[in-house]
């Protein structure tokens, strides 16, 4: 797979490691009353879709940026690549 890095252009996927579902960016509120439930969901449960999947990749052998890939898990086709920092800030977090 070739990943179109937003800053560096096309890079071989071998330079990256994959962490998993991009929902890991949305860490629950540890001080909320239902924190035990929300953290269980966050840590252990996955949608695991057959189809479009948003997931976190780390450019370990490159610029050490975190990316959010939108990828089809049935074909491995990469549909979009964003910087994880952009995804987080556009979601209203700093």
């Amino acid at each position: 797979m070739i990943i179109e890095h937003p800053l560096l252009g096309p890079r071989d996927s071998q330079e990256f490691t994959c962490l998993g579902d991009a929902s890991l960016l949305q860490r629950p509120d540890a001080f909320a009353g239902d924190a035990a439930d929300t953290f269980f969901d966050y840590q252990y449960l996955r949608d695991n879709p057959a189809g479009t999947h948003r997931e976190l990749w780390y450019h370990e052998m490159g610029d050490r940026s975190w990316l959010v890939l939108t990828r089809d898990t049935r074909t491995h086709e990469i549909l979009a690549v964003e910087l994880a920092s952009d995804v987080v800030t556009s979601g209203g977090r700093s």
Partner: protein, 420 residues
């Protein structure tokens, strides 16, 4: 039901002398009935074994196995055929040892030649720390009634002189051997269980895809399929890499990610590798099939996938591992490679349990260890379905163990499925 003849040496002789005209299909191709006591979703090794043990051990005759494609077309025909019970943790080892004992009696039980070959599984160690960890694991195995033996380099060299013992970075210091481990002809496992189940009245229905569950008042009363509704008293799902997709239809999210694992086979060679060898310092393991092909593999591709095919970086990684461990492998040509979809769980261990929906049961999360578990998985799932209590060797494989903090994490790598 039409009686299907048993298999024996005498039968082969008789058929050979009469033009082989007496062989019949090994299982029927029935139309689905409107209702069964038990419906098993998934006609892979685990589903077929579950149906077989339900019928043979628990006396349940009204059983159907629903398979969306053809039986044995998924992971039971895609794995690298290894059986072993070399686990460390108390939640795992009794189960896998139970499985290995079932393998040892499988062919007599099924009246089917599955080519069970106890040629030994050799886990190589490359450092003092790894040797100590293997010694601990070997002792844990022995305490649970399995066999284990620790070899030093000289003992291992006598058995496998072709290994690259003096590698500068990862010299081979020895191996933990389980001599009762080995390989099994994997397709024959699916066919043997299918034939055994069929002869006991189980309906094996191929090309029948489950598209949903009919749930009333919190109870599953049957499955919707592309061949109509099939009612069931109890429904058990054993669908491996498709677990998340199928259970989503029952409103469940699972502690599972689907990943692709690749495997490879070389051209046929004369016997050269006596057992199963795993490299302790790289992603590589290998055995030789009875046809002569070197069967080998490595790690998963590390990203979620339902594609049943992987990518080239892992091919390169596996071949590098092979060349490091046994340079002679460079002379062999690789002829085939393929992928299977692994239901990677959050602690690397499986689930055999009730679900929150009454009458619906789940068997999955086998990661890449499902094949060796086939007999015990089927037996324990049948026990759960028939009695509503977990089998004594499978009490730890609970679906809610992640919420309760009772993980069975052999590797200690945490809730990171692609690292198990």
């Amino acid at each position: 039901m039409k009686k299907l003849g048993g298999y024996s040496g005498f039968r082969i002789l008789r058929e050979g002398l009469t033009g082989n005209r007496g062989w019949r299909p090994a299982w029927r191709d029935p139309e689905p009935q409107p209702a069964y006591d038990f419906v098993i979703v998934g006609g892979g090794g685990h589903g077929l074994a579950t149906a077989y043990y339900l019928a043979s051990r628990y006396g349940e005759a009204s059983v159907a196995v629903l398979e969306k494609g053809w039986i044995g077309g998924g992971n039971v025909g895609r794995n690298t055929t290894i059986i072993r019970s070399n686990y460390l943790l108390p939640g795992n080892e009794p189960f896998y040892e139970f499985s290995l004992k079932l393998w040892e009696g499988l062919e007599q039980d099924l009246n089917y030649n599955a080519m069970v070959s106890q040629r030994g599984v050799y886990n190589l160690y490359h450092s003092d720390g790894q040797r100590d960890a293997y010694r601990r694991r070997g002792n844990a195995m022995i305490l649970h009634g399995a066999d284990a033996e620790l070899l030093d380099a000289a003992q291992l060299r006598a058995e496998m002189p072709f290994l690259n013992f003096d590698n500068g970075r990862f010299p081979i210091q020895g191996a933990l051997v389980q001599r009762r481990g080995g390989t099994v002809r994997h397709d024959a496992v699916a066919w043997g269980y299918a034939r055994g189940a069929d002869r006991r009245g189980v309906d094996i229905i191929q090309n029948c895809e489950v598209t949903g569950f009919r749930i009333q008042n919190g109870r599953c009363i049957g499955v919707e399929t592309n061949r109509g509704f099939i009612a069931a008293r109890k429904v058990g799902c054993a669908v491996a890499g498709s677990s998340s997709r199928v259970m989503q239809a029952a409103g469940m999210r699972l502690p599972i990610e689907s990943h692709v694992l690749q495997a490879f086979v070389s051209e046929g060679l004369k016997p050269v590798i006596p057992g199963v060898v795993t490299y302790g310092a790289g992603h590589f393991y290998i055995s030789q099939s009875d046809k002569g092909g070197l069967v080998f593999g490595g790690d998963i591709d590390m990203y979620n996938s339902y594609a049943q095919r992987g990518n080239l970086p892992v091919v390169e990684d596996v071949c590098e591992g092979g060349m490091t461990l046994m340079p002679m492998i460079g002379r062999a040509r690789m002829v085939r490679m393929w992928g299977g979809i692994m239901d990677m769980s959050m602690d690397g261990s499986p689930i055999i349990d009730h679900t929150p929906v009454d009458g619906l049961y789940f068997n999955g999360g086998w990661c890449y260890g499902g094949f060796k578990a086939t007999p015990a998985s089927g037996y324990c799932f049948a026990h759960l379905l028939a009695t509503d209590t977990p089998h004594e060797t499978a009490t730890a494989f609970r679906l809610d163990r992640f919420r309760r903090g009772m993980m069975i994490d052999e590797k200690g790598s945490g809730a990171q499925p692609n690292l198990h």
